[in-house]
C-alpha cells in the first residue's frame, strides 16, 4: 500500500510540473492549429495508474476516478440534460470501466476509453427518455439554414460583458436547444477534446459524418449565441 501511495504521489508531483509548463491554450484566428492533439487532458502518467489499477490497486483506480469524475459528469449531464440520468450514467460508467479494465488494450488513452463508455451510458438513457428525438442514423441536413445572411459584430468581448455564472447559463441554454446527435458530436469533439477518429469510433459513425455534424453544430451554436450577444443578453 505504501508503494501505491508513493506511486500516486510521484505521479501527482509530475502532473503539477506538467501543468506548470502548459499554460491554457490560446489559439488565435491567424494561427489555425494544424496539429490538434487528440486530447487536451492526456497526462503522461495515466498509463502508470491504469497499470496499477489493472493489477488490483484500488487506490490507483480511485485516483483515476478523482481525476475524471467532474469531466465525466459534465459529459453525462450535457448529453442527458437530466440530473438523475447524468448521475446514474456517471456511476455506471465508472463501474463498467472498473469491471472491464482487464480487457482495456491500451491502444487508446484511458480517458478516451472512459468517455466512450460514459457517452454510451448517457446516450442509452437519453434514448429511453426521448425515443423519438434521437437517432445517429438520420440523414445529415444541409447547412443552408445556419449560414448567416448578414453578419453583425458582437461588440466588446462577450466574456467581459457577462459574469461567469451568467455566461454559464447562456451556454447551458443554447446547448440545450441543439439537436441531440449534433450536441453529442460537438461535446465529444470540442468539449472533451476527442479527435475526429475517436469521436467517429465512439458514436459508430463515419469520420465524414462527424465532420459534417460538427460543422452544423458549431454554426448552429454560433447562430444561437449571435441572437444572445446581439440582443445584449436576452435568450
Amino acid at each position: 500500500m505504501a508503494c501505491a501511495i508513493l506511486v500516486v504521489r510521484s505521479i501527482q508531483t509530475g502532473l503539477l510540473a506538467n501543468l506548470a509548463g502548459n499554460p491554457a491554450k490560446a489559439r488565435t484566428l491567424s494561427t489555425p492549429n494544424p496539429h490538434r492533439l487528440p486530447s487536451k487532458i492526456a497526462r503522461e502518467d495515466e498509463h502508470l495508474l491504469v497499470a496499477a489499477a489493472k493489477s488490483g490497486d484500488a487506490a490507483a483506480f480511485e485516483e483515476l476516478v478523482n481525476r475524471y469524475e467532474r469531466k465525466i459528469f459534465r459529459l453525462t449531464m450535457n448529453i442527458t440534460r437530466n440530473r438523475e440520468d447524468a448521475e446514474d450514467a456517471l456511476q455506471d460508467a465508472f463501474m463498467k470501466a472498473y469491471s472491464h479494465l482487464g480487457g482495456f488494450q491500451e491502444d487508446s488513452r484511458f480517458y478516451t476509453w472512459l468517455v466512450r463508455i460514459a457517452a454510451n451510458e448517457a446516450l442509452m438513457r437519453l434514448r429511453k427518455r426521448r425515443p423519438n428525438q434521437f437517432s445517429l442514423d438520420e440523414p445529415i441536413e444541409s447547412e443552408d439554414d445556419v449560414i448567416p445572411q448578414e453578419i453583425e459584430d458582437w461588440g466588446p468581448s462577450p466574456e467581459q460583458r457577462y459574469a461567469q455564472t451568467e455566461m454559464r447559463e447562456i451556454l447551458d441554454g443554447v446547448i440545450d436547444q441543439l439537436q441531440p446527435d449534433f450536441r453529442v458530436t460537438f461535446l465529444l469533439r470540442d468539449v472533451e477534446g476527442l479527435s475526429t477518429e475517436e469521436t467517429a469510433e465512439a458514436l459508430g459513425i463515419s469520420e465524414a459524418a462527424v465532420k459534417s455534424r460538427l460543422l452544423r453544430a458549431r454554426l448552429k451554436l454560433r447562430q444561437k449565441l449571435d441572437r444572445v450577444f446581439r440582443q445584449g443578453g436576452a435568450h
Binding site: E69, Q91, F94, L214, L215
Partner: protein, 80 residues
C-alpha cells in the same frame, strides 16, 4: 473563394484541416472581406468558449454515492 465557400469551410479551417492552397485562398478572402473575418472569429469564439467553460460541479452527495459504490465494488476480489 467566395463568402459561401468560406462559411462552409470554417470548421475545417479552425481545425487546421484545409490543404495549403485552399487555406491560402481562404485567408486571401478574409483579408478582403470584413464580414467573413467577423464570422470566422465568432465561430472560433463559439468553439473556444464551450471548450474552456467551467466544469459543472459534481454535487457532493452524488460524489459520495459514486465513491461508496466503487469502494464496495473494489473490495470484491477480481477474478484471476
Amino acid at each position: 473563394m467566395n463568402c459561401d465557400a468560406v462559411m462552409r469551410s470554417v470548421s475545417s479551417y479552425i481545425d487546421g484541416e484545409l490543404g495549403i492552397a485552399i487555406r491560402e485562398e481562404f485567408e486571401v478572402h478574409l483579408k478582403a472581406c470584413k464580414d467573413c473575418t467577423i464570422f470566422v472569429q465568432q465561430t472560433k469564439f463559439t468553439v473556444d468558449i464551450f471548450s474552456s467553460a467551467e466544469l459543472t460541479d459534481l454535487p457532493a452527495e452524488a460524489r459520495s454515492r459514486l465513491h461508496e459504490k466503487l469502494r464496495r465494488m473494489t473490495q470484491i476480489p477480481k477474478r484471476p
